[in-house]
Symmetry: C2
Subunit: 417 residues, 2 copies
C-alpha cells in the first residue's frame, strides 16, 4: 500500500487526554481513533494488526475443534434473570437500553448466558456432546473509569469459546488442549516469552482457573512467577498452601505486574443448571452439561504488544502481526527505482507500506517508520544506490546494511522467516 493513499497521518505529540502508553503510541501512529474514554475506532493500520491476530486465534481455535458463529449484542432480560446477573446491583458494568415498547435490553458484557440458551435447543443426549462454539465479538462494559487505553475498554473486541461436555473427564481433555492452544496464540503473536500460565481463583467446580498473564508495568494484576516451572500464581490466591500444592519454592519466585491477556475457566454446571441445559446419559438420567469458558481480548492483545514491545522511538511489531512486513522509504525526487522495488515486493507476496510521499524530509520519513514499527525498513535513495543498493534495517537494529536491489526479495524472506 502506498502511504500517499493511506488517509491517516502520524502525530508528533502525544494526545493530552491519554495516560496509557499503548493509547498514546497507537493514536500518534494513526492506528486508532479515540471516540471517548475507553472507546476507540480501529483505523486501517490498526485493523491490519487486528485482522492478523484474529486469523491466528481462529486457526488455533479451529485446530482444537472450535466452530465459529456470531451471537447477538442485544440481550434479553429473561436469560440473565435465570442466572441472577440482570440486576445492576449484581453486575455493575451493564449498558442497558430499551425497545420502543419499553422492554429492557442489555448489551453483551459476556457470553455464558447467550451460549447456554442456544445450546439448550440442540442438546438432548450424551451423543450430542462435546462441542465447542466460539465467536469474535464486540463486548460492552460500563466501567466507571477507563484510562488504560486498549487494555480496559468500555467497548472492546474479544474471542470467547465455550465448551459443552458430558462430564469432568471429557471436559478436562479439552481443557488441556485449550491450554496448549493458548500458549500457541501468545507465542505466535510475539509475546510468548513474557506470558505465563497463572493459577487464579476457581469456583465451585475447580479449585483454580487459569489466566494467561503477560508481564508489564501497565498491568493491573500482581503475579508470582516460578521461572523454572514456567508457571505463575495470581496474588489473589497466593498463600503457603497453594505454594505447597504447586510445589513452588517461595524463595525462587519473582513478583511482577502483569496484564491478563487470556483466561480459561471450568464452569461446571454453574450455567447449565439455571438454564436446565441437561442431557440424558446412557442410563436415561438427566445430567447437567459440564461447561468451560475460554477468553482472549483481541483489542487488549494489541494494547499489550504495544506496552511491552516499543521503545522511545515508537512501536515494534512482531512480524506475525505487523500491519506490513516492510516499510519501503523512497527519498529524493526520482522514485523510479523505489517504484520497481515496490512492485517486486508486491509481486513476491511481501506486504509493504511504501512511503512515496513527496515534500516530506528524510528525517520525517525515518521518524514515521520508527513510530509505525514495521519489522524491516528498506530505504531507496540516490545515495543508497550509489552505495550499491537499498539500506535495509530491522526495526530494533542500530545499523542498516546495503543490499543490492536484485537481492532484496531473498534478503527480506531470509530475515522474516
Amino acid at each position: 500500500m502506498r502511504q500517499s493513499q493511506l488517509f491517516t497521518r502520524t502525530k508528533r505529540e502525544n494526545p493530552s487526554d491519554e495516560e496509557a502508553k499503548n493509547a498514546q503510541l497507537l493514536i500518534r501512529g494513526g492506528f486508532i481513533h479515540k471516540e471517548m474514554a475507553g472507546v476507540y475506532s480501529i483505523l486501517p493500520l490498526g485493523y491490519r494488526v487486528m485482522d492478523k491476530i484474529i486469523a491466528i486465534v481462529k486457526e488455533e481455535m479451529d485446530a482444537i475443534g472450535g466452530v465459529q458463529m456470531k451471537t447477538s449484542a442485544l440481550q434479553n432480560k429473561e436469560s440473565w434473570e435465570k442466572t441472577n446477573r440482570w440486576s445492576d446491583d449484581v453486575v455493575d458494568v451493564w449498558f442497558k437500553t430499551k425497545l420502543q415498547s419499553g422492554s429492557e435490553l442489555g448489551l453483551s458484557f459476556t457470553n455464558e448466558e447467550a451460549y447456554s440458551n442456544i445450546a439448550k435447543n440442540f442438546v438432548s443426549s450424551y451423543k450430542d456432546l462435546p462441542f465447542y462454539p466460539y465467536d469474535f465479538k464486540t463486548i460492552f462494559r460500563n466501567e466507571t473509569r477507563s484510562k488504560s487505553g486498549m487494555l480496559r475498554g468500555r467497548e472492546f473486541y474479544w474471542k470467547a469459546l465455550y465448551s459443552f461436555s458430558k462430564d469432568l473427564a471429557q471436559h478436562n481433555m479439552f481443557y488441556e488442549k485449550a491450554k496448549q492452544a493458548y500458549h500457541n496464540v501468545f507465542k505466535r503473536v510475539g509475546i510468548g516469552e513474557y506470558t505465563y500460565i497463572t493459577f487464579a481463583s476457581g469456583g465451585t467446580f475447580s479449585k483454580y482457573s487459569h489466566e494467561f498473564q503477560t508481564i508489564s508495568e501497565a498491568g493491573e494484576d500482581t503475579i508470582y512467577i516460578d521461572e523454572e516451572k514456567g508457571i505463575a500464581i495470581n496474588k489473589e490466591v497466593f498463600n503457603d498452601e497453594v505454594l505447597a500444592e504447586l510445589g513452588v519454592d517461595k524463595n525462587k519466585i519473582m513478583e511482577k505486574k502483569a496484564i491478563e491477556t487470556g483466561n480459561i475457566f471450568s464452569l461446571g454446571s454453574k450455567f447449565s443448571e439455571p438454564f436446565e441445559l441437561n442431557y440424558k446419559n446412557e442410563n436415561g438420567e438427566d445430567i447437567p452439561v459440564f461447561m468451560g469458558s475460554y477468553g482472549i481480548g483481541i483489542t487488549r492483545l494489541i494494547g499489550t504488544v504495544v506496552e511491552i514491545l516499543s521503545d522511545d522511538k515508537g512501536i515494534v511489531w512482531p512480524a506475525s502481526i505487523a500491519p506490513f512486513t516492510v516499510h519501503l522509504v523512497a527519498l529524493g525526487e526520482d522514485m523510479s527505482e523505489a517504484e520497481d522495488v515496490y512492485k517486486e515486493l508486491n509481486n513476491n507476496g511481501i506486504e509493504v507500506l511504501f512511503d512515496d510521499r513527496v515534500g516530506v524530509t528524510a528525517g520525517e520519513k525515518f521518524a514515521d517508520a520508527d513510530l509505525l514499527g514495521m519489522p524491516l525498513r528498506v530505504v531507496v535513495s540516490k545515495r543508497s544506490l550509489e552505495n550499491g543498493g537499498a539500506e535495509v534495517k530491522g526495526r530494533t537494529d542500530s545499523e542498516s546494511v546495503i543490499v543490492p536491489v536484485n537481492e532484496i526479495i531473498s534478503h527480506v524472506k531470509k530475515v522474516i522467516q
Copy 2:
C-alpha cells in the same frame, strides 16, 4: 465437517413465531437462532454463509481502493448533535444507553457522523483526497415492529463505505466504479439476474440515489423495471418527468415488489459542512469535502437469497456462498467407502458436510440435505456402490447420476466451476 460434530440440528416444523419465509427456513435448518424479534444469533452453518459473503464484498471494495477499518458501536451525543440527528424526535430508531456518569450514548444506526468526525483529523489539503474507508459492522435500529426475519433486523450486520473526494468530478469517477463493484457483488453471490440498479430519491447534491433492488414478493419496495435497459425506477420517484429523463417507455415496464439489498448515495457536503470537514484547494481556499455513502446489508443479503432461492423442500444456496459445496450422505452401517470419499474431497480442497450420523433414516438424511441446500448431494450406500459408485445430484435436479468413486473429484470440480 462431520454432521455428527455440528452441534445444531434441523427442525421439522416451522417456528410458530416467524412469518417470514427466510427466518422460518434459516431457523429450521439451524443457520440462525432467534434471540428476540429482529435479533438473531448466527449459528455455525449461517456463519459460513456470512463469512463467504463478507469475503466477496471485501474483495470488491478493496479492488476499487477501499481500506478496511472498524468504527465503534458506542456513539457520543456531540457528534450527532452537529448534524441534528441526536434527538429521538428526528431519528426514531435510536437505541440509547448511558455511562455510569449519566452521559447519554447511542448505538450506531448508521455511520456518516463517525466517519466524518474521524476524517476531520486527517484532511487538510486537496492532496489528502480522495480516500475510501469502509467497515463491516453490527448496526442497531430500534424498529417498532420487526417481523421480516433477516430482511429488517433490530440488530444486523452491514458493510458501509464512505468516499471522501475534493469535488463532484472526483466523486463521480469513484461513484461509477462503485456501481460496477455492486453489480459484481450481486452477481457473485448468485442474485445478479434478480437485482436491478434502481433510480431512487437523491438529495441536495444529486437528483437520484441508486438502490440495488432484488425482486421478491417479500420486499417492502415497489419498483418499475425496464428489462431492456436493465434499470428500474423506485415508485417513490416514479413520474412522467423521470420516465422521460431516463428514456423509459411507460408501456414496456414491469411493476415488481423488491428488497433493497444495497444503495449508493452522493452526500455532497451534507455531513462535511456541519463537521467543518474542509480542505484547502490549490488556491488556498477552504472547501467542504464531497462525500458519498455505499451500503450493503450482509445479513439482509442472506435473508434475500433464502427468500428467492428456495423451494418447498428448503434452501438452494448458490455455490459461491453455500456453507459447503458438497453434502456427502452415507447410508447404511458400513460407512468405510463414504469415509474414503470424505477424505478425498477434503484433500482436494472441496468443502464438504459429511452426514455420518448413525441411527438416522435415509429419508431423514435426504430431507435434511434438501433443507440445508448445499449445491451437490453425494450419496454413498451399498446400493449406490453396487450400481457403480456414488449417486450425485444437484440440489435442484430431479434425478441423480451414478459417478464412479474415483471420478467424484473431477465430477464435482466440473459441476461447480
